[in-house]
Symmetry: C2
Subunit: 187 residues, 2 copies
């Protein structure tokens, strides 16, 4: 390997990346993570989440600061537009996960990137949300994401996107679904 | 109905909510929405999404301002912690969607809320993400959300949560999955 391959490429510290992979090979429990968000209702459809602590690498950790995010509905959906809708945050999560994977995988393969941009769109029929249909689903019917990549050989770039898709946590969640349990304290 | 039922309850303009439902009954195409996010890679696992324009109610619309969100990995996952991880945004979206639904449904039913808070957790094994296993899935194995509600009769509050779950867009997306297509311009 060249020095570059174990240095920083695409802003990815590949030496640290390979060291992390090696550490997990030695102790797979390091890879068990538990992420969290807390949410508080503000008023109407406006609510706010805080993302700070998580469990990973066999210990309780925190982000360097608590990150807070407002969600709301726009006026056309009877909200006050204090933030994006929850379904728009899903689109952000999907694009962000695939893009982070692209940067990591390209770096690990020695592929240079100069641009990664994407537009992600989701089609949703709100008839179900409004209680007017039991035939359309509540969520997106389909999601499309269009990537523009610039950097090394286009064929290598396309293979990097494909590998990111095959390893993306959010792509898996959004395409395959996850069991969700809900507990209610209505004291 | 009492004046209160057609006024504002829980910060929800129930008159506008019922008017919206009536409008959609008259023209179901109003309920077809298309949401969007654009994402730009910054460096390493750090990238940024902008959420602004969307299509709905048969017209192109925008939020009152462009909302931007950074995503990144924490140092333990070889990032610089410039924002939450993409998978944490999924937890925020889920809690936010269920909470907005709770406020709307409670208002429509004449149920008063004084508090809605929640904690949402997702368990994920990053062995697959690190390329070290084809047996564990890439995404969350399970998600748990715990709600605390205060307000009117606890039994009514529990039923409101159940109705919100049954109409939630993000709950449907996350539990049932959505087809996602990816297009790549690697020119």
């Amino acid at each position: 390997m060249t020095v570059t391959e174990h240095g920083v490429r695409n802003g990815v510290d590949t030496a640290a990346l390979f060291a992390t992979v090696d550490a997990v090979k030695g102790d797979p429990d390091i890879a068990k993570f538990r992420f969290r968000a807390t949410n508080t209702w503000v008023s109407g459809t406006h609510n706010r989440s805080t993302i700070h602590a998580f469990h990973g690498a066999k210990q309780e950790m925190t982000h360097r600061e608590p990150f807070t995010f407002d969600a709301d509905h726009p006026p056309v959906l009877v909200g006050k537009d204090n933030g994006p809708t929850p379904v728009e945050f899903v689109l952000h999560a999907l694009a962000a996960c695939l893009t982070a994977g692209i940067a990591n995988i390209a770096a690990a393969r020695g592929v240079n990137l100069t641009e990664v941009s994407s537009t992600v769109e989701g089609d949703i029929d709100l008839l179900a949300f409004l209680g007017l249909s039991d035939e359309v689903r509540n969520g997106y019917e389909q999601i499309r994401i269009s990537f523009t990549l610039r950097g090394d050989d286009p064929d290598k770039l396309r293979k990097v996107v494909e590998q990111s898709r095959s390893r993306s946590a959010v792509f898996d969640i959004v395409t395959n679904g996850v069991p969700v349990s809900i507990d209610v304290d209505a004291g």
